[in-house]
């Protein structure tokens, strides 16, 4: 069972085409193992990305260095998954 302890999901809001291009560059960096829930495309659409625990700091540092605005959509993915699993178990019990 794959766990997601420490994985964060960030919502990134781009202001211009240049920032979109920076995110597309980020997308191409395979070693970060990013999972784009919503891919970078146009400035009107926010980008959501799941970041493994080991890459969180580097990605945040990259965004901050580029002045790209982001917020944390999910603080710790595993916490949310655990809650979901618990809800399912309770529902099945009912």
């Amino acid at each position: 069972l794959e766990t997601f302890v420490g994985h964060q999901v960030l919502r990134i809001k781009t202001k211009n085409e240049e920032e979109v291009k920076q995110l597309q560059l980020l997308e191409s960096l395979e070693h970060l193992e990013l999972d784009f829930w919503i891919n970078p495309s146009a400035t009107a659409v926010p980008v959501d990305v799941r970041i493994p625990a080991v890459s969180v700091q580097s990605v945040k540092a990259f965004l901050e260095s580029q002045g790209i605005e982001y917020s944390i959509l999910i603080e710790d993915l595993q916490d949310v998954l655990d809650k979901e699993k618990q809800d399912m178990a309770e529902s099945a019990q009912r």
Partner: protein
């Protein structure tokens, strides 16, 4: 014994979902479960057929869960199946629709991926097919259709979440739908349900060339979104895939539109809050309810504008 106590406001395993399909079939004489094919790992692809008679009537197709981690879509599809079945004979709109047309509903379009999300990796999106020569598994089944296949807007890297696969329809899950649509030959509307960015989209995704029916599809989308938003105020955007979200090649509804199915749409269901693919179960029913209002607009428009 059938209990009839299925909880539509909870997430369920594939076995539970399949049991509920059987339950609906046992409860309603006009509902039939048909198998249109099987997945890579040999799981059956079950479609509910709602038909009140006639032969090869014009039909509407709905599918959900082609991206397995989008759990609210499979869950909403079950609620919708129950709604269609229970409203026939009491709701004038559904009664009139099913008196003229058949309806096909595929609640779990990617069963291998869905089981994998329950057993191994909740975040799994693709199919589970093995790619010769690659350590990575799976193809994005929404990039595997024969419409701009392999062009920009999909990845040739088998490890990517948007890997288009080795050739069009390489995935048995996709090929089964393609074969069904072709052999039926009288499908008038095709709606594919995804989550979660609150969008109602029409073709194209692989080209900026507008579809010939753009104006009509845009108007139907506006009406559908207005109906959806009227229930809980959920805000949706609508438009063509490429102009509204991003370029995506090899997508489902681009292929269906090119097959002559004018009313081809794809939904991206709600994310009210900051949940992404992990929409809490308590939001399943509200999501399904609001989606249903939009679906009804599309289905009624199809019924009233037969071509």
């Amino acid at each position: 014994q059938r209990s009839g106590s299925f909880d539509f406001g909870a997430y369920h395993t594939l076995d539970d979902i399949n049991s509920e399909l059987d339950h609906l079939v046992s409860e309603y004489s006009f509902v039939e479960k048909i198998q249109i094919g099987e997945s890579y790992e040999k799981r059956p692809l079950y479609v509910l057929k709602f038909s009140t008679g006639g032969s090869n009537r014009p039909a509407i197709w709905l599918d959900a869960g082609i991206h397995s981690r989008e759990w609210v879509t499979q869950a909403s599809a079950l609620w919708i199946a129950n709604k269609i079945a229970s409203d026939y004979g009491t709701d004038a709109s559904i009664t009139s629709l099913l008196d003229k047309m058949d309806l096909f509903l595929l609640p779990v379009a990617n069963p291998d991926g869905f089981v994998y999300t329950h057993t191994s990796n909740r975040m799994w999106r693709k199919t589970r097919s093995k790619i010769p020569g690659s350590i990575c598994v799976g193809v994005d089944p929404n990039r595997n259709w024969d419409a701009g296949f392999g062009e920009a807007g999909a990845s040739g890297n088998s490890c990517s979440e948007t890997y288009h696969g080795p050739y069009p329809n390489s995935e048995p899950e996709v090929k089964s739908i393609v074969d069904f649509v072709k052999s039926h030959g009288n499908i008038k509307a095709f709606v594919s349900i995804h989550s979660y960015s609150q969008l109602l989209l029409y073709p194209y995704g692989y080209t900026e060339t507008p579809v010939p029916d753009q104006q009509e599809l845009h108007e139907v989308s506006a009406k559908a979104v207005a109906a959806l938003s009227s229930l809980y105020g959920t805000k949706y955007k609508y438009g063509s895939i490429i102009t509204t979200i991003y370029r995506a090649s090899g997508g489902t509804i681009d292929w269906t539109y090119n097959q002559g199915i004018k009313y081809s749409f794809t939904f991206e269901l709600r994310d009210t809050g900051r949940y992404g693919f992990l929409l809490p179960a308590k939001q399943i029913v509200p999501t399904a309810e609001e989606t249903w209002l939009a679906l009804k607009v599309i289905m009624e428009h199809t019924r009233d504008n037969m071509y």
